[in-house]
């Protein structure tokens, strides 16, 4: 029963990773941009939520109403004002360098504004309440809510991509930006919309992270790494792969930590490397390697 519990907790943790991976996957899918500031942006969202909670003493989940639109707008401006310029030309260097520089800027700005202290978002009773399934198996309400939210966000994204005009413009621009602009789409705008939506999911992920655990200005890169591993394990270009990748990563980490406390994160990395070595297209990916 211990092992069942470990796997269940891993799946719940995986929900959070899938939530983190969604935005990374979307931005790469639409514009082949790997945003190295992805994790740091989620921490920015968590700190904004913290500032609101400190001022107005509300449950952190209510701050989603402010933080999500804020990150949506920030994403649009970030893409129009900065990232689009890094995407000109075929040179692989500028996108990596610009987003890496942005990551360093965000981490150190947060450090100056909020100090290096550990912070947490207090969601009150919801945080510790759980459903007891049996003596050794309890499912926390909040981790369950995280997993359900992740599935909801991914389903929403899938519907948006397949059913809406915006989703069609994403797919068209992803396939061929020049052809898309010939039929009246402005790739700069389409990319900015994709980044806006990606950062909205990042805001949700950052907030849920903040409730689940403590955070500091320097943990963004770890979040980026987990999101990246979930994307690669699941397979590029597959929404359901991203969910599967997050779940596999979560289970690998909790199983590893069960074996020895120091091996949790490492076990996740090893699963990622094994996928890279033996199935580079990922579990559910298209037959095109990264």
């Amino acid at each position: 029963m211990t092992w069942v519990n470990v796997v269940v907790q891993g799946l719940l943790l995986g929900g959070l990773y899938a939530l983190f991976a969604t935005g990374l996957s979307l931005m790469f899918g639409v514009m082949r941009l790997v945003n190295l500031a992805h994790g740091d942006l989620s921490i920015v969202a968590a700190f904004v939520a913290l500032a609101i909670v400190d001022r107005f003493h509300v449950n952190p989940l209510w701050t989603l109403l402010v933080v999500v639109p804020l990150m949506l707008g920030l994403g649009y401006l970030l893409q129009r004002g900065l990232l689009n310029f890094a995407l000109r030309g075929a040179d692989p260097l500028p996108p990596v360098l610009v987003t890496f520089g942005l990551a360093i800027i965000l981490q150190n700005l947060l450090l100056e504004v909020f100090s290096a202290d550990s912070q947490g978002l207090d969601a009150g009773r919801l945080e510790n309440a759980s459903i007891r399934v049996s003596d050794r198996l309890a499912v926390g309400w909040f981790p369950l809510l995280t997993l359900v939210t992740a599935v909801g966000v991914l389903v929403g994204l899938q519907l948006m991509l397949s059913r809406t005009r915006l989703g069609r413009s994403f797919r068209a621009t992803s396939d061929d930006p020049e052809a898309a602009s010939l039929v009246g789409l402005d790739p700069r705008h389409v990319f900015a919309m994709a980044t806006a939506i990606a950062l909205a999911t990042v805001a949700v992920a950052g907030l849920f992270l903040g409730v689940r655990t403590t955070f500091t200005p320097s943990i963004g890169p770890t979040r980026l790494i987990f999101a990246f591993e979930a994307v690669i394990i699941g397979g590029l270009g597959s929404i359901w792969g991203t969910l599967a990748g997050g779940l596999v990563l979560g289970v690998a980490q909790t199983l590893g930590a069960q074996l020895s406390p120091g091996w949790g994160v490492l076990a996740g990395h090893l699963v990622f490397l094994a996928v890279l070595a033996f199935r580079p297209t990922g579990l559910l990916g298209r037959e095109v390697p990264a």
């Binding site: 082949r32 190295l36 900065l82 692989p92 360093i104 890169p221 990246f228 990622f272 990264a290």
Partner: protein
């Protein structure tokens, strides 16, 4: 067009060698006057620096150790990203492996310190083989994060080995067999050798076929491959060279610092510094990292009092330079003057 006639009549003849008018007498020109002057001045500077222990204060020597080792790291990153398009943010793996290699061979196995530094470099290169095989499956930004994850794997594995001090690390004891001054001078000369060596190796590699292959790959990977350029092998060789250079530099850095701790030795900051130096100085030029290292140290000395704001500024400068002056400070100088201190290109000149 009549078959077999000697005169090509419009369009290219298909099966015959066209008659060619005598070509102008050309020769391949590599060195230029500024490059010869630069080489002479550079050699003089290296000689002067090699005699550093005779004229410089110990504190200056200590600063120069950091300068030379960072130059080596930056030049290796420049070779990777600027010439081979391998934008790695996992080079801290080799700094850490160099440091722990030194610790393992000098302290645990009792090899002489100098031999241990070299062996640490070789170990880093050997580890780079499987690393490259895995990381090369990813491209662009995902290659970048992939190399970072692999660096994290090495850090976590070493953190879990209690013989190497676990998470709190160990102090290098072998160095205490020397007295303070001897150790400082030895480390200084090693650092100078690694720094100058990194520049020289990059220059010599780029002058060879490898340089041509890299240029071809940069201009178009598919077309280079179709011309028979061994794309994978070329990138693989560059990756191994960079791993060797960074491991050696890592060993020398920790011969100076003595205290080896996994968080610090495998810190992403090493790669962040490499990137800033190369971007500010000029990516894809050999001169760039040299200028970048000097600028980086001047900035660090003047702005380090501002704490995190200093890093915010460095990040912002890197972003702005990447977008507005792709070839950095040296690019601006070279565009204005036409200088090239390390001529790796071939110019045709009439004799």
């Amino acid at each position: 067009m009549t078959e077999g006639s000697g005169e090509p009549q419009g369009g290219a003849p298909v099966n015959q060698v066209p008659e060619v008018t005598a070509p102008p007498v050309l020769r391949v020109q590599r060195a230029t006057l500024p490059s010869r002057i630069g080489l002479a001045l550079g050699l003089a500077a290296v000689l002067l620096l090699a005699l550093g222990p005779l004229w410089a204060l110990d504190s200056v020597l200590r600063t120069l150790i950091s300068v030379f080792t960072l130059l080596a790291l930056a030049q290796m990153w420049n070779l990777l990203a600027g010439y081979a398009g391998l934008v790695s943010i996992g080079q801290q793996a080799y700094v850490g492996l160099g440091a722990y290699g030194l610790l393992l061979f000098a302290d645990t196995l009792g090899l002489p310190v100098l031999v241990s530094v070299l062996v640490a470099g070789i170990v880093g290169t050997l580890v780079a083989v499987p690393t490259a095989l895995l990381a090369f499956r990813l491209r662009g930004g995902y290659f970048a994060i992939g190399t970072w994850v692999i660096a994290e794997v090495y850090r976590l594995v070493i953190t879990n080995v209690s013989q190497l001090g676990g998470g709190s690390g160990l102090t290098l004891r072998a160095a205490s067999s020397f007295d303070r001054t001897t150790r400082l001078y030895l480390t200084y000369e090693l650092a100078l050798a690694v720094g100058v060596g990194a520049v020289a190796v990059t220059y010599l590699l780029l002058r060879r076929r490898l340089g041509l292959a890299l240029t071809a790959i940069r201009d178009g990977e598919q077309s280079a491959r179709s011309l028979g350029v061994p794309v994978f092998r070329t990138k693989f060789v560059v990756y191994l060279v960079a791993a060797f250079g960074c491991s050696l530099a890592g060993a020398v850095i920790y011969l100076n610092l003595l205290r080896v701790q996994p968080e610090a030795a495998f810190s992403i900051n090493w790669t962040a510094f490499m990137i800033f130096i190369v971007i500010i100085g000029g990516v894809g030029t050999i001169e760039g990292p040299i200028i970048g290292t000097i600028v980086f140290f001047v900035l660090q000395e003047t702005l380090s009092g501002y704490g995190a704001w200093y890093l915010v500024l460095l990040g912002a400068v890197a972003v702005v330079v990447t977008l507005l002056a792709r070839r950095g400070l040296w690019g601006l100088i070279a565009d204005r003057t036409g200088w090239s201190l390390f001529p790796v290109q071939r110019r045709l000149e009439e004799r």
